[in-house]
């Protein structure tokens, strides 16, 4: 399994004395796009945090490229759900993005061009000089995404990254993300509440369940999405397979 980028090896997690995730077994391959869905509070964020090395599983282990994860790495970017708190309030938009470049010791001369580029990608070129407190919620979220893109990671762990974005901005960023995965072999784990988004972006979708028991483990379903690549906002979403999968997922989620 040389192309396994992330491997969840019977990962179980306890928080505050409660079992949040019962053993999860999952392998994510290079260039794969895995979407995670599930009810509020079921442990999606927790799963991603384990993949990033922020929490240590109480059982099992997470491996990246075969080696057990001991802590966060710069090759793994994390887009936090709570975007407001993930930015440095004392740095402007561009300086916030710059942080990722500084961390990677990118020479100062190269930074402006790279910053400008990612800011254009997320549509914030006009707001480079603003402080986070001067931005709308969706703009803050995009700054965070820009920082993660600037990091040029191998793996992106994205926790509801497009949650605060309007439909149009969201679609633009979805397509941009899909392009990066295709062209640069980026591996993505992507938490979302939007079933259509999960199906549109994912090669696979995993559904988690709240309050797992040995009989009903965390991993409620693991669905392959055999839709053709590259996908397209209009045709893909009208594809019969898309509609079928959407209905299927809808039922998994308790309807």
């Amino acid at each position: 399994m040389t192309d396994s980028v992330l491997h969840f090896d019977r990962v179980a997690i306890e928080l505050g004395g409660r079992q949040i995730l019962s053993p999860v077994e999952l392998t994510v391959k290079r260039g794969e796009f895995v979407c995670v869905i599930g009810p509020s509070g079921c442990g999606k964020t927790t799963l991603l945090r384990a993949a990033a090395g922020f929490v240590t599983p109480s059982g099992g282990s997470v491996r990246r490229k075969g080696a057990p994860i001991t802590g966060p790495s710069r090759e793994v970017a994390f887009v936090f759900q709570d975007y407001g708190r993930a930015l440095l309030p004392w740095r402007t938009v561009q300086a916030n993005v710059s942080l990722a470049l500084e961390a990677a010791n990118v020479p100062a001369a190269e930074r402006p061009a790279r910053i400008a580029h990612v800011l254009r990608t997320v549509g914030l070129q006009a707001h480079a000089q603003k402080f986070p407190a001067q931005l709308s919620g969706g703009m803050q979220q995009r700054v965070q995404i820009a920082r993660c893109l600037a990091q040029r990671p191998d793996v992106m762990l994205m926790d509801e990254p497009f949650g605060a974005l309007d439909a149009m901005t969201r679609e633009t960023l979805q397509d941009e993300l899909a392009r990066l995965v295709r062209e640069e072999g980026l591996t993505v784990m992507f938490v979302t509440h939007d079933l259509e988004e999960a199906l549109y972006l994912g090669d696979r979708v995993i559904a988690l369940r709240s309050n797992p028991t040995p009989e009903l483990p965390s991993l409620a379903a693991l669905i392959d999405v055999p839709l053709p690549q590259p996908r397209d906002q209009l045709s893909t979403k009208e594809h019969p397979e898309f509609l079928r999968l959407r209905r299927e997922l809808y039922h998994y989620l308790g309807h």
Binding site: A52, G53, F54, G71, P72, S73, R74, V76, A77, F78, F80, D82, R85, A86, L88, P89, W90, R91, L99, A100, E102, A103, A104, K130, F131, P132, A133, Q134, Q151
Partner: protein, 258 residues
């Protein structure tokens, strides 16, 4: 149009501020002239002003003020640098915390007035010794603020730094200290005052020329108006230096209330 409006409000605020101070001075005037407090200890504002002008005209008071000002300022710069550096060291390294924090906590409550005789015995009666005591006495607000700011970086920012694999130093420089900045600046404002106060105490005890000695001699010879002239000068000095600091603070903390 907008600019004139802004200037007008600024003038309004300044005059309001002056009015409040004026009210306090009026209170002082009433207390001293009505004889609630003996004139030998609380002179009238007029007498104070007169002593102030006389002292300044004589040139002596001006020289003292300058001496104290330079002592305070260099002590403050030293104290701030020392406070931030030690605070960053202790706040970010468990080992440093184990080795030196308890010693510092032990030294902290020692009054300058009690330490000074010891310092004089060990290091002699010199301006450098006083400066060291000033720097040492005034660094605590900055040190504690730095510690607090480092300890209270929001969990998520910590995780951002971990996921970017920022080096320990980078974390301190780029996240820890900026996060502590509002606290550090408040600490530095305090530190400036403490530095002035310890300078004055130092001048009193270690017999260095300056406002402290002038105040001490005035107090000892029951020249209340001269004592208060010194105090007024100290107040003016503290005020002037704090205005500068407040301006710096406003531009450094622009992000807080944009």
């Amino acid at each position: 149009m907008k600019n004139t409006h802004r200037t007008l409000t600024a003038v309004g605020n300044a005059s309001g501020s002056v009015l409040v101070l004026g009210a306090f001075i009026a209170l002082w005037w009433m207390a001293s002239t009505s004889g609630w407090v003996n004139r030998a200890f609380l002179p009238t504002p007029q007498a104070t002003l007169q002593s102030l002008l006389q002292g300044l005209a004589g040139g002596e008071l001006g020289a003292y003020t300058w001496a104290t000002l330079t002592r305070m300022f260099s002590g403050w710069v030293l104290a701030s640098a020392l406070g931030i550096a030690l605070g960053a060291l202790i706040g970010s390294s468990g080992r440093a915390r184990e080795w030196i924090a308890p010693t510092l906590e032990f030294i902290r409550p020692l009054p300058a007035s009690a330490v000074m005789p010891l310092a004089i015995a060990l290091f002699g009666l010199s301006g450098g010794m006083v400066l060291a005591v000033v720097a040492f006495g005034a660094m605590w607000p900055v040190l504690l603020a730095t510690l607090h700011g480092l300890a209270n970086v929001h969990r998520q920012l910590r995780e951002v730094s971990r996921s970017l694999e920022l080096s320990h130093l980078d974390f301190v420089l780029k996240i820890g200290l900026p996060n502590a900045m509002p606290d550090i600046l408040a600490g530095m404002r305090l530190s400036m005052t403490v530095s002035l106060i310890v300078s004055v105490v130092g001048e009193m005890i270690a017999s260095q020329p300056g406002l402290g000695q002038a105040i001490l001699l005035a107090a000892r010879s029951f020249q209340a108006s001269e004592l208060f002239a010194g105090i007024v000068l100290l107040g003016a000095m503290g005020f002037a230096s704090n205005v500068v600091l407040a301006l710096a603070e406003r531009s450094l903390l622009r992000w807080q209330r944009p």
